[in-house]
């Protein structure tokens, strides 16, 4: 299945639902009830209350100005507004040699995403080294090793409980020696409010900056689409700590729609780069604002 097909397939489950709701709404005309329910639809996709209010106000003003009564047009308008917001931040072009570090809270799917990312770069004919810098969670390195075997890439790992920065250092040295195109760093899941763990992350960040200055360094935050408004807090604090370059949105194959990325792109100007739609090696696609919007509305 192609990438469009997959995202549409993944998001379609809830799509009918919303279109149906909107149709029922239009029957009642474009009154306050209509806009209130429109707002509710956006909120139920995990778009924040503030963003939902802003979007609806914008649509309301526009519709009034244009004296719109046409349902299709209002839907198009809604899509345009969301899509524009999602496209505000520019997606970084990956240049080589590259170091990609994935960060995020516990259980969002960092290790799985790394397996899929490795496969993505292998398909792009790039050589890849994985750095198993999650030395905290039990058996995290074992898990990453399985992914390395699946994607047929190299992996650098240390003992459980060792210094994650040392793993990063070794992976970089090895990548330099072997001239690998991409180093992908797995990090332990950490709640963004834990200052000491965020310091540990900054240290890893510094190791890459200092010891591999010739590499293009990208830091991606992995967010679980099932998450609610806390995703914004996660993005803010991780961005403060390591200056994020992008977002990977995982678990879009469920019924959650990850609407918080609309607020995120608008407020923090961090682009969504990849989306995860399953647990298989090729269940990772480049983010497409249009397709994503189609999925929400």
């Amino acid at each position: 299945m192609g990438f469009f097909g997959k995202i549409i397939g993944a998001l379609k489950k809830t799509k009918d639902n919303i279109s149906g709701k909107l149709s029922a709404l239009f029957a009642k005309g474009l009154g306050d009830d209509f806009y209130d329910e429109l707002e509710e639809i956006l909120i139920s996709a995990d778009i924040s209350v503030i963003t939902a209010e802003e979007i609806v106000d914008q649509i309301r003003a526009e519709a009034k100005k244009e004296k719109l009564k046409d349902k299709e047009y209002v839907i198009d308008l809604l899509k345009d507004v969301i899509e524009d917001t999602l496209s505000q931040a520019e997606v970084p072009e990956i240049e080589y040699p590259a170091v990609i570090m994935l960060v995020g809270v516990n259980g969002v799917g960092k290790t799985t995403t790394i397996g899929k990312l490795a496969n993505y770069f292998v398909k792009e004919k790039k050589s890849v080294t994985l750095a198993a810098a999650d030395t905290f969670r039990a058996a995290a390195a074992d898990q990453l090793t399985v992914w390395a075997e699946r994607a047929k890439v190299r992996i650098v790992k240390h003992e459980e409980g060792s210094d994650p920065s040392a793993v990063v250092y070794d992976a970089i040295s090895s990548a330099k020696a072997k001239k690998t195109d991409v180093v992908i760093v797995d990090t332990a899941g950490r709640l963004h409010v834990k200052a000491n763990l965020m310091e540990e992350l900054k240290k890893m960040d510094r190791v890459v900056e200092r010891d591999y200055p010739e590499a293009h360094f990208y830091k991606f935050l992995v967010l679980d689409a099932t998450t609610g408004q806390n995703a914004l807090s996660q993005a803010k604090l991780f961005d403060e700590a390591v200056d994020l370059d992008g977002i990977v949105l995982t678990k879009l194959d469920g019924t959650a729609k990850g609407g918080f990325v609309v607020s995120l792109c608008g407020e923090l100007q961090i682009p969504v780069v990849f989306v995860g739609t399953g647990e298989k090696l090729d269940d990772l696609q480049l983010f497409d604002a249009e397709e994503f919007t189609e999925g929400i509305i």
């Binding site: 209350v49 058996a139 074992d142 609610g228 408004q229 806390n230």
Partner: protein
């Protein structure tokens, strides 16, 4: 304090014109409920759950007498708070124990909710209670999930039963047989994380359930879950008839509104909460704490209760008299800090005092460390200086600074702050009492 005071601030704003006490009218409730709705939605309570909740609460609130000790905003919060607690109620943190061992506990939930870690925590807890748990590795899909459970089991000092990637239904059955023969009285089955819409894997859970008849089927949910929590909880409950819920990752800054959504759609008790990565970080669930968290504020009413306890009637009368006579001194100021400290922190108490948040008290003005310095400064003054701060000239300031280990600037700051407080206190003079002085 930002999160903490947001709802009470907004409600205070709505009610700022409303000073007289009486009954809550429909119009007042409507205005207040708009704010409560936003608070609930920002906390990730599902929108339909929030709507229903607000409709129910509004109905109950209209016509209620406003308690003398509260202002209308606090009265509304009190009602909302009580309803939230009632809804999340039944503090049933006990695990169902089988009449005939072994007790079988089955875990279930989405990927990344924290099941495997939780298995270790539960095993640890049960072991402490004198049980002999056996962990069962039923996640045959995620790479290294079995290793992870083995490491976790090792840390908890609990054996782990695993049969590699053998069908988990069979593994679960064999594990229970082994538990019987080895004398393990509790069996905890870890299962693979799965999407609630994954038919094959949901069927697998049903098969395990039908094979081993668990005493407890615990749905593990990430407390950061958003609107989708209702779909997840409803589906798992429909398929498996879960016996309880465990919320994980509550050591973050999530408001945890998913908790309310889950409770609303399943009606099942929330048995435990996970509050950290250590194996001992498992706590019973307290609905009152969760309600405060969802509303984004401390427990207003218990703070007010605390305030009543911390200041004795006599002290309060004395202070009130002083306020009326405007003879409030630095000595009284010191006493105020001490009684506020008894209540567990200035910032929290200040935020809850009606009207106080409007006076723009910055949290930084009242951090605990600073209060210690303020106390040191006042204690370095003579009694006379405390009674009549206007006599404190620059040489006295230098002496006080030296004596308290601070500097003149800080002494100046305190004197200025004291003057402001005195001014503020005057606003309460006209027959009005400070809320904690009743």
């Amino acid at each position: 304090m930002a999160l903490f005071s947001s709802l009470s601030d907004r409600l205070n704003h709505i009610f700022s014109k409303l000073t007289k006490h009486g009954k809550l009218t429909e119009l007042e409730i409507k205005g207040a409920m708009r704010e409560v709705r936003i608070a609930l939605l920002e906390a990730d309570v599902n929108i339909f759950v929030a709507k229903k909740f607000i409709a129910d609460v509004s109905e109950k609130a209209v016509g209620q007498e406003i308690l003398k000790s509260l202002n209308p905003a606090q009265q509304v919060i009190k009602i909302v708070n009580e309803e939230l607690i009632a809804l999340m109620g039944s503090t049933n943190a006990k695990l169902e124990i089988a009449d005939k061992p072994p007790t079988v506990i089955m875990m279930c939930g989405l990927q990344g909710a924290g099941k495997t870690t939780l298995c270790g925590k539960l095993a640890m807890l049960l072991k402490k209670q004198g049980k002999k748990p056996l962990l069962v590795a039923g996640d045959i899909y995620r790479p290294a999930a079995i290793n992870q459970l083995q490491v976790v089991g090792g840390k908890a000092g609990v054996p782990v039963f695993e049969k590699g990637t053998q069908n988990p239904v069979k593994t679960a059955k064999q594990a229970i047989e082994q538990a019987r023969s080895m004398g393990n009285d509790v069996v905890i089955i870890d299962t693979a994380g799965r999407l609630h819409i994954d038919e094959t894997l949901m069927q697998e859970l049903e098969n395990i359930k039908n094979e081993v008849h668990p005493n407890e089927i615990l749905l593990t949910v990430d407390s950061m879950t958003g609107q989708d929590a209702v779909n997840v909880a409803e589906t798992f409950n429909k398929r498996l008839d879960v016996t309880g819920v465990i919320l994980t990752k509550l050591d973050g800054d999530t408001r945890g509104g998913a908790c309310l959504s889950i409770k609303a759609v399943t009606g099942k008790p929330i048995k435990f909460i996970g509050v950290g990565e250590k194996l001992t970080d498992l706590e019973p669930f307290y609905p009152d704490r969760m309600a405060s968290r969802i509303l984004g504020m401390g427990d207003v009413l218990s703070l007010i209760e605390k305030a009543q306890e911390a200041v004795t009637e006599e002290q309060a009368k004395k202070l009130e008299k002083k306020l009326r006579e405007a003879s409030f001194t630095l000595e009284d100021y010191l006493m105020q800090f001490e009684s506020l400290k008894k209540m567990g922190g200035i910032a929290s108490v200040m935020g809850m005092m009606p009207g106080m948040s409007k006076l723009k008290i910055k949290e930084s003005d009242f951090d605990e460390e600073k209060i210690e310095r303020i106390k040191a400064i006042i204690l370095s003054m003579t009694m006379k200086e405390r009674e009549k701060p206007e006599i404190i000239n620059s040489s006295r300031k230098r002496r006080i600074a030296l004596g308290s280990g601070t500097n003149v600037q800080e002494v100046n700051q305190l004197l200025k702050q004291f003057e402001q407080t005195k001014l503020m206190m005057k606003q309460f003079k006209n027959g009005k009492r400070l809320p904690f002085m009743r």
